[in-house]
Point group: C2
C-alpha cells in the first residue's frame, strides 16, 4: 500500500475513533456504510474497507455477517476528557483537578480550589473525632436516615437563616459531597440533550460534571457584578436552557459577587423563561456579611441551594447539602437512595456537627477571613509586580482572577510551571467559550511560598 493510501486509511480510522470516543457512535451502533463514508471522506471504498478491517483487528469494531460493522460494546466507554472537541490536555476542565488531587506534598498548588491543611481548624476537628469514638453504635455502624442527620440539618437551617435563606430542616438533604449534591440535582432535573446555562468563566468542574450528563452547555459572559444581563436574557430566550448553574457569592473563578440589581434581574429573567437555578454557595462562610443570594431573594421557589464544608472545615470528611422546595425533596431522596443508598455518612455528619457546634469553629472562620484578606492583598501586589492586571477586587474569599501581561497564553505558562512542580489554573479551563486564555485564577491561600513567583516568572519568560 502506498504512503498516501496508508495516510488516508489512518484518517478514516481516526474519524471513526473520534466518533466512538465522542459517543457519536455508541457501543452497538452500526458504522456508516462503506460507500457512504467513502464519499463523505472523499476516499475510495477500498480505503474505508481497509480502515474498518484494521479497527476490527484492534477490537474497536466487529463485523456481523451481511449486516456491516458495529461498535464493540464496552470497549469504548464514555471518557470525559475526549467528549466534545478534542481539547489540548492543558485546558481540559479536568486538568487542574487531576493535577491538584494527585500532586505530591512537595508540589505547590496556587491553581487548586481549597485551603492548605494547616489553615483548617485542626484542633476542633481532632476534638470532634475523639468525641465520635464515644458515639452510640448506630451512629458508627448504621446507614442512617435517607435525609441525613437531623441534628446537622437543623444546624444548617439556622446557618442558612443567618444568610437570609429560609429553609426548614425537612427541605434539606445531606449528600456525599457538594459536588455530589450538584450531580444529584442535575440528574433530578436534566436529561441528555437538555441545555444548561453557566457563567463564562465558571468553576471548571461545572463543565466536567455537565459533560457527564451529556447536556448542551451554553455560557453568558460574567461581569464584576454578575452575569451580563443583556447576554443572559438573550441566551435564555434563544437557547431555552432548563437550568442555570452558578455561584453567586464570591464567584469561582473571579471572586466577584452579585449586585442587588443584577441578582433581582437574574431571578426575574429566570422566572420569565421558567429556568431553575442551582446556586452553589460553598464559599458562603468566607464572607464577613452575606452579599445578595438568589436563594435568599427567591425563597427556594426556583432556586436550589448547594453547600458543603470542604473549604472551611475539612475536604477529607466529605458531606454536602441541598436545600430545595419541599415538593422536590422526596424525589431527590429517592434518587439518592437509588444511586448512593442513603445520605451522607452518619459518622461524617456527626463529626461535622460536632466541629460546627464547637465555639472554636466560629472563631476559626473569623480568623480565616482576616488571614485571607491579608493574603489577598499580598498576593495581589506580587502578581502586579509580575505584570498581572486586575479584573475585579473580590470583597473576600480565596480567589484572584488576573490577566497575564503581553498577551501571554495561560495554558502555555501553566504547562511550563507544571514541569517545575507548580499547578496553576489557566483561564480557558473555566471558559465554555474558551475566551479566557489570557487569564489565570490564583488561590491566595496556596501562594505563600516564594517559589510560586519564581517559577511563575520563569514560566512566563519561557513562553
Amino acid at each position: 500500500m502506498s504512503l498516501a493510501e496508508t495516510t488516508r486509511t489512518a484518517e478514516v480510522m481516526d474519524a471513526i475513533r473520534r466518533r466512538v470516543t465522542s459517543r457519536t457512535l455508541a457501543p452497538g451502533d452500526r458504522l456508516p456504510s462503506i460507500r457512504g463514508f467513502a464519499s463523505a471522506m472523499r476516499v475510495s471504498p477500498s480505503t474505508v474497507v481497509e480502515a474498518y478491517d484494521r479497527l476490527a483487528a484492534e477490537g474497536l469494531i466487529r463485523s456481523r455477517r451481511g449486516s456491516g460493522f458495529y461498535v464493540v460494546g464496552g470497549a469504548a466507554p464514555l471518557t470525559l476528557a475526549e467528549v466534545g472537541p478534542k481539547l489540548d490536555r492543558a485546558v481540559d476542565p479536568l486538568w487542574v483537578s487531576r493535577q491538584s488531587l494527585d500532586a505530591g506534598p512537595e508540589t505547590l498548588k496556587p491553581g487548586c480550589g481549597w485551603l492548605p491543611a494547616d489553615w483548617m481548624p485542626m484542633t476542633e476537628l481532632r476534638r470532634s473525632i475523639r468525641a465520635l469514638a464515644r458515639a452510640d453504635d448506630a451512629t458508627l455502624a448504621d446507614y442512617g436516615g435517607a435525609r441525613g442527620s437531623a441534628a446537622l440539618r437543623r444546624l444548617l437551617a439556622r446557618r442558612m437563616a443567618d444568610q437570609g435563606v429560609e429553609a426548614a430542616p425537612d427541605q434539606i438533604i445531606l449528600t456525599a459531597s457538594g459536588t455530589h449534591a450538584i450531580d444529584l440535582v442535575c440528574r433530578f432535573l436534566l436529561r441528555p440533550g437538555d441545555t444548561v446555562l453557566v457563567d463564562d468563566p465558571c468553576y471548571f468542574n461545572f463543565l466536567a460534571l455537565l459533560r457527564a450528563h451529556q447536556v448542551e452547555i451554553v455560557g453568558a459572559p460574567f461581569t464584576p457584578n454578575g452575569p451580563d444581563l443583556a447576554a443572559f436574557g438573550k441566551v435564555l430566550a434563544e437557547r431555552r436552557p432548563r437550568l442555570y448553574l452558578t455561584n453567586s457569592g464570591l464567584h469561582n473563578p473571579t471572586g466577584a459577587s452579585l449586585s442587588p440589581h443584577v441578582a433581582h434581574r437574574v431571578l426575574s429573567l429566570a422566572a420569565a423563561h421558567d429556568v431553575v437555578i442551582v446556586e452553589d454557595d460553598i464559599f458562603a462562610d468566607f464572607e464577613p456579611e452575606p452579599s445578595p443570594r438568589l436563594a435568599a431573594l427567591d425563597g427556594l421557589c426556583r432556586v436550589i441551594r448547594i453547600g458543603s464544608f470542604s473549604k472551611t472545615l475539612s475536604a477529607s470528611v466529605r458531606c454536602g447539602h441541598i436545600a430545595a422546595r419541599a415538593d422536590w425533596i422526596e424525589g431527590l431522596i429517592d434518587l439518592q437512595v437509588a444511586t448512593g443508598f442513603g445520605a451522607a455518612s452518619p459518622a461524617a455528619t456527626e463529626l461535622i456537627a460536632g466541629a460546627l457546634g464547637d465555639g472554636g469553629y466560629r472563631r476559626h472562620v473569623e480568623a480565616l477571613r482576616r488571614r485571607l484578606s491579608l493574603a489577598m492583598r499580598d498576593v495581589d501586589a506580587k502578581l502586579a509586580r509580575l505584570g498581572f492586571a486586575p479584573w475585579t477586587e473580590p470583597r473576600a474569599g480565596v480567589f484572584l482572577w488576573r490577566r497575564l501581561p503581553d498577551g501571554l497564553d495561560a495554558a502555555a505558562v501553566a504547562t511550563a510551571a507544571l514541569a517545575e512542580g507548580v499547578v496553576l489554573a489557566p483561564g480557558d479551563v473555566f471558559s465554555v467559550s474558551r475566551t479566557a486564555s489570557s487569564f489565570m485564577r490564583f488561590n491566595v491561600a496556596q501562594c505563600g511560598d516564594p517559589r510560586v513567583y519564581d517559577v511563575l516568572a520563569r514560566a512566563m519568560a519561557r513562553t
Copy 2:
C-alpha cells in the same frame, strides 16, 4: 359539567400527568395537539381543552400564544417512584430501602439488607476512630488522591488475591459507597435507552439504580446454581444488553452461589455477545471459602468487581471500591472527579484501613460467620413452622429466600406487617418481571426478636 364529562377530563389530565412523570413528556416539550389527543383518548376536543386548562392552572403546563401547550420546566422532574409502569407502592423497589433507612429504633427490620449495629466490630471501629484523631493534618483536611488511599487499595488488592481475583492496586479506585461504585460504572458504560440484564430476582436497588440511568431492564430467571443458562443465552442473543449486573457469591436475595459450570458458561456467553459484567461482591467476607467468582475466572477483562465494607465493618463509614481493567481506570477516575470531586473520604478510608488491619477484624468476621449460620438454621426452622417453603439452602450469608404458604401475596403481608412496625421484603420488589409475589427475603441477623414471627403470623392470617 356532567359527572361523565368530569371523569373524562380527569382521565385526560391523568394521562398527561403520567407522561410528564415518566418523562415521555419532558419539561419544555409541546403537548399533543387538542384534536390529535382528543381522538387518541376517544373524547371530545372540548374535554381536552378543559383538561389542558386545568393542568395549566395547576402549573404543570403553560400555553404559549399561538403555539399550543408546553410542559413547565423543572416543575416535573424525574421521580423514580413513578417512572415506568405505576407500581403499587408496596412493591416499588424503593419501598424496602426507604422504610428501612427511615425506621425508628423500635422498628423491626427483617426485610433490610444489613446487620444490626451490635453485630458489627464496635471495639475495632472505636479503636480505629481514636487512632484517626492522631492522623496527620492532610489526612484529616485534604481531598486526597483521585484514586483514593493507596494503603487501602494495596490492602484490597491483597484481599482480592485471597479470593482469586488478580487486581493491581492501580486497577482499584475507592468510591463514596458500594452503590456509588455501581452507579459510576453504569455512567461510564451506559447511556439512556441501553439495555441491561439483571437476575430475576435481583437486589431491588439494582432496579431503582438502573431506572435512574433510564435504561431498559431485562431479566433472566435465577436458579439455585446461578442464571438459567438457556434463558440467559436467549436474552443475550435477542435483547443484546450492554451490561449484566449481578452478585454471584451469596446472591441477593436468594443466597444462592454460582456453580463452577454455570460461572464458566455465563462468562463464555458474555464473551460471545460482548457483554460487560458488573459483579457486586459486597457479601464476599461472609463466605468461609470463596465460591466461583466471575471476576476471578475472567481476570478483570470484561468483569468489573464492586465491593464495600458496609456489611461487615460499618455502613456509617461509607466507602466502596471498583476493580476493573487498567485501560478503564483513568476514565472512571475522570468521571468520579467530575461527579463527586475525588474519591472516598480520606478520613473514612484511613479509618477503614485501620480497622481492617486490626487483627480483631479477622476474628470478628470468623465469629460473624458462625453466628450467622446458627441464626440461619434457627430462622429457617421458625419460618418452616409458619408454612414458608425453602427455595435453596444458602451456604452462608444473611439472606433466606422463602415462599409463602397458600399462595399468600407477599406485598399484602408486608403492608400489614408495616402497620405493626415490622419492615419485610416482599418478593416482587426484587423481580423485574414481578413474578415473585409469593416470595419473601429474610435477613436472619434481623430476625432475633420473637415479635417478628408474631407480627408475621398475624399479617399472614389477615391477608
